[in-house]
Subunit: 203 residues, 3 copies
C-alpha cells in the first residue's frame, strides 16, 4: 500500500464529498421554496451529512496509509475538514427549519439557499479540476463573489426583520436561519481559501 | 538550554493543562447540578482559567527556548491554543450562569456538562499517553462520538425551549447557555483534530 | 520577477493594511461617540473595508509571483487573512449600528471601540517593526492584555443589559453590538497569535 500509493483516490474522494454537498444544498433549497414536508427532506439531508462524515473519515484514513500525497498532507486535512463544515452547516440550516418549525416562505432565505447551490456547483467543478489544477483560482474568485452577494442579502434581510417583526421569538428564529445560511456560504469561501493556498504552494 | 532541550517538559505541561480543564469541568457540572452558590464556584473556575493561561504561556515560552521539539512546533502551538480555548469556554459557560443569574435546574445543561467532564477525562488520558503515542486515535474517535452526543442533546434542548418558553429574555439566556456548553464540547473535538494531525504526521 | 523578488513589498503592504484598520477603527469610535450621522460614517468604513480587500488581494497575488518570501508563505497568508478579518468585524459593527438603527450613546460600546483603536495602534506599530522583528512579542502581550480588558467590559455590559433592558428586541440589538465589538478585539488577538508564531519560527 505504502509503496504503491494511489494518489488519485484523494481527488476522487473530494469529488464525491463535493457531490454530497451539492445534493444537500439542492434539498435545502427545495425545503425553503416549498415550506412543507420539512421532516422528510430534513431526514434526507441528515443522511447526506452522515455520508459526508464517512467520506471525510475515508480521506483521513487514506492519508494515514499513504506515503506520498498529491499535495500537502495538512492541506488535504484542511480541505476535507472545510468541506465537512459546509455540509454540517447545510444540515444545521435544515435542522433550524425543522426544529424551530419555521413556516411560511421567506424570500431572502430562498435566495441565500440559491447562492449555496451555486457555491456547491463551483466547489464540484473545482474538485473535478483539482488534479490538473485547471482554473482553480477563477473558481475561488467566484466563490468570494458569491460570499459577498450572500453577505449583502442576509444583512438586508436581518435589517428588515428588525424593522418589521414585532414578535421577539419569531425574530430570533428567522434571524438565526439567515445567519446559519450565511455561515454556510462563508464556509464555502473558506474552502476557496484552502484551494488558493494549495495553488499558491504548487506554483 | 538550547543544547540540552528537555522535550519531556512539553508533555508534562500538556498533562497539567488537561488536569486544569478537568478540574474546571467538574466544578461547572457541580454548579449546574446544584443551582446555588454560583458566585463562589464561578470564582474558582476563573482562578483555574488564569492557571491555564499561565500554563499556556509557559508552553509558548518553552517553545521559544527549545531547539528540538518532540513534535511539530506549529502543532505544539495549536494543541496548547485549543486546550486554552476549551478552558475559556468552560469559564464562559460558568460566567453566563453567574452574570445572567440563571436559576433552577436545567436538565439538558447538566447532561451537556457531564459530556464536558467525560471529554476532559479523555483529553487527560490522551495527554498522558501522547509521548508514547498510545491509542491516541481511539481517544479522538471517542471525543468525536461525545461531540455528536452533545450536538443531539443541545438541538433537542433548544427545540424544546422554543416550544415551551414564552419569555423571550429567559429563552435567550438559556439558549446561550446551551450553545456555549456545546461550543466547549466542539472545542474538545478540535483538540482531537490537532491530536489526529500530530499522529498522522508521525506515521 | 521571480529572480528579483522585492520581499520588502510584503512589509509595506502589511503596514498599509494596518493603517486602513486604524482609520476604520477611529471612524467607528467617532460613530459610537456621536450617535448621529451614522449612514455617512458607515459608508466611509465600507469604503475602507473595500480598500482593505484590495490590499489583501495584492498581498496574495504577490505571494503567487514571488519565489522567496521574507517569512513562511503560510504565515503571510494567515497574517493577511487575520488583518482582513479585523477590518471585516469593524465594518460589521458599523453595519449593526446603521442597519439596526441603534440610537443613544452606549458607554460600554464607546469603551470597546476605544480598545479597538488602541489595538489598531499596536498592530500598526507591530507591522512597521515586523521586518526588523523589533519588540514584536511586547506588542503581542499588550494585544492580549487589551483583549482581556475588552472581555471584562463586554461581560459586565451584557450582564447589565439583561438586568435593566426589558424590551427583548432592543436587548438583542445592543447585545449583538457588544458581541461584534468584542469579536473585533478577539481578532486583534488572533493577529498577535500569528505574529507570535512568526517570531517563534524565526528564532
Amino acid at each position: 500500500m505504502r509503496l504503491l500509493p494511489k494518489t488519485g483516490r484523494f481527488f476522487e474522494k473530494f469529488v464525491e464529498q463535493a457531490a454530497t454537498i451539492h445534493e444537500a444544498a439542492v434539498l435545502l433549497l427545495d425545503m425553503l421554496e416549498k415550506s412543507e414536508g420539512f421532516e422528510n427532506t430534513g431526514a434526507k439531508i441528515t443522511d447526506l451529512e452522515h455520508r459526508g462524515d464517512n467520506i471525510t473519515h475515508e480521506i483521513l484514513t487514506s492519508l494515514n496509509q499513504t506515503f506520498i500525497t498529491p499535495f500537502d498532507r495538512e492541506d488535504i486535512h484542511a480541505l476535507s475538514s472545510r468541506l465537512d463544515d459546509v455540509l454540517d452547516l447545510i444540515e444545521a440550516a435544515a435542522n433550524k427549519v425543522v426544529f424551530y418549525k419555521i413556516t411560511g416562505r421567506m424570500q431572502p432565505a430562498v435566495e441565500l439557499a440559491q447562492i449555496i447551490v451555486r457555491c456547491a456547483e463551483r466547489i464540484k467543478t473545482a474538485m473535478a479540476a483539482l488534479e490538473r489544477q485547471d482554473r482553480i483560482l477563477d473558481h475561488c474568485i467566484e466563490l468570494n463573489r458569491l460570499e459577498n452577494e450572500g453577505d449583502r442579502i442576509s444583512r438586508v434581510a436581518i435589517a428588515q426583520l428588525f424593522e418589521q417583526e414585532r414578535d421577539p421569538i419569531t425574530l430570533i428564529k428567522r434571524k438565526e436561519l439567515y445567519e446559519v445560511l450565511e455561515d454556510a456560504i462563508d464556509c464555502c469561501e473558506d474552502v476557496a481559501n484552502v484551494l488558493e493556498s494549495v495553488v499558491l504552494k504548487s506554483n
